[in-house]
Amino acid sequence: MQAYIIRRLILVPVTLFIISVIVFVFMRAVPGDAGVAKCGAAGSFDQKCFEVVRQELGLDKPKIEQYWIWFSDIFKGDLGFSPLQRIHINEEVWGRLWNTFQIGILSLIFTVLIGIPIGAISAIRSGKLIDYLLRFFAILGISVPNFWIATLIIFLPAYFWQIRVAPDWVGWEEPLMHLRVVALPAIILSLSGAGAIARIARSSMLEVLSSDFVRTARAKGLRERVTVIRHVFRPSMITIFTIIGLQFSLVLGGSVIMEAIFGIQGIGLWVIEAIAARDFVIIQAIVMLLSFWFLLITLLVDVAYAWVDPRIRYN
């Protein structure tokens, strides 16, 4: 177990290094560099501005040197300076991450609160009408695109009843209002995850329901409710928690679209803006940051999995 954790920990920087190379190569292949984006295209093109920007970005240096400067800075914890937005990424990134994180964590809570009960009821009432209905809702959840749901929720009430559903971002100065603002994108974002979790919860509970120890529990006359809660729910939680861990990293990716629709100043909207402006310093920083996050979560999930279920041995 210890050896496994150590091996995985060593792989994290190696993986990050290779990702950094791939990202760097891709971003330098971007047509139209930041200099052009900042200083205007043909016609209004400003040569002096162009040169200043290129110098600030280090674009006049050889590619290998550019890479090395960037990579060693990242390892020191300096995500870089965006000459287009004239900000140090480190100063901006935490506030952005925090906004995305609030939506992510709330969405994860909704995912669990909606997904697990649906899966559990579906498994217990397996084969009944309610099972079919809930399964259909689950598959609907993973099928219907979240940006369509968000669009309908914003525009239909506005069209028919002139109601504004999505209020502006207010921040924690008004806690209740803020929760309301965050809850809407979070719940829309949670729907597909809830559908996935419901399906997994159902199948893993069904598997446990047909196992020998559940039959024994029923045979010795244990009440159904106690059987389900004590003997079925607990073992199937292992699978479910693994998926929840992975879902958390998916949520960060999914919030890109929610942030764009609801105009939330998070990491996702930042990436989109950075792409539009060809501001690859920001894109590179965010990819590295999120990959690091993703690696850590996966590592934690795997370790927790092995710890909870001793049958699992990693070699």
């Binding site: 792989l11 791939i22 971007v30 069209y159 199948s203």
Partner: protein
């Protein structure tokens, strides 16, 4: 008739019936045991039919400009008209083309690459396997959406770029699942037997192992297609997918189209519904195929 009886019937039929009858029988069996999957495939066929014969199903030019702006649904315009006076029904029908081409194309490319690499890694093992497995781990560490954003930014805007980007984002996980399958199949005694009688490695890979991977490949493909459709829609919605102006469901939900949504409920409803119904149908079909072809994966929602 009970489940056992029907399978008994079919066992007798093998050999006695001409091939087309046994095919018909298994289709009928699928229809009977998988009603939702049948609905899924019927809807998909309908959409494919509309996409192919888009010119003949009461449509007008989806990219031309009309004179009736923002008219509600009527007998003339089933889904109403949009801000450019274009018939929304026509745009939805023509929008099925890029959706299907992208969904099937991206998954086709991803499956092809992943299968080839999985055969190499799983069959030969050793350094190839180690390198490919490490590469997969690395590629999976970056969230899919970031790969998609980076790739569509780095290359020019075209349907090929989108297919390539989506295939790139989906192949690592496919490769991982298929590699496990190859290792499993390569350990089966008949593979050893084939090797003993002197069959070459390519022959064993393509004649013996590949056909046995087909069920899992079909299952993975049917699960990946809806995911690919949603990925493409998401990108196009964010303005990073298809060219602006192309008739596409996601295009009519994002960008400039949004400014007019307050003037007509039909504008966001129909293109989104088309996308949702398509994805739902593929998911229903995928679930049914999984039940039929690989019962171990039943309801797992994984792969």
């Amino acid at each position: 008739m009970s489940e056992r009886d029907s399978s008994f019937d079919e066992q007798i039929d093998i050999g006695a019936d001409p091939k087309w009858r046994s095919v018909l029988k298994s289709i009928w069996r699928f229809v009977r045991t998988q009603p939702l999957g049948t609905v899924g495939i019927l809807v998909i066929l309908t959409i494919a039919f509309l996409a192919i014969f888009a010119d003949y199903v009461h449509t007008s030019d989806p990219e031309g400009f009309g004179r009736n702006f923002l008219k509600p649904p009527s007998e003339e315009n089933f889904f109403g008209t949009n801000r450019n006076g274009q018939d929304l029904w026509s745009r939805v029908v023509y929008g099925a083309r890029p959706a299907l081409i992208l969904g099937l194309g991206a998954v086709g490319v991803a499956m092809f690459v992943a299968t080839l690499l999985a055969l190499l890694a799983g069959f030969f093992g050793g350094i190839i396997d180690t390198l490919l497995s490490r590469l997969v781990e690395i590629l999976i560490a970056v969230p899919q959406i970031l790969w998609l954003l980076m790739l569509t930014t780095a290359f020019d805007r075209s349907i090929q770029t989108l297919i390539f980007a989506i295939a790139f984002a989906f192949s690592p996980i496919t490769l991982r699942v298929l590699r496990g399958n190859v290792i499993q199949e390569a350990a089966v005694p008949y593979v050893e037997a084939a090797r003993v009688i002197g069959a070459s490695s390519p022959r064993i890979m393509f004649r013996h192992i590949l056909p046995n991977m087909a069920p899992l490949m079909i299952v993975i493909a049917s699960i990946t297609i809806p995911a690919a459709l949603l990925a493409e829609a998401g990108l196009t919605f964010l303005g990073l997918g298809l060219e602006p102006g192309t008739p596409s469901w996601a295009m009519d939900l994002g960008g400039g189209a949004r400014q007019y949504f307050a003037s007509g409920w039909w504008l966001p409803v129909f293109p989104g519904a088309a996308l949702a119904v398509t994805v739902l149908s593929f998911n229903l079909l995928g679930d049914s195929l999984r039940d039929v072809l690989d019962p171990r994966l039943r309801g797992s929602g994984l792969v």
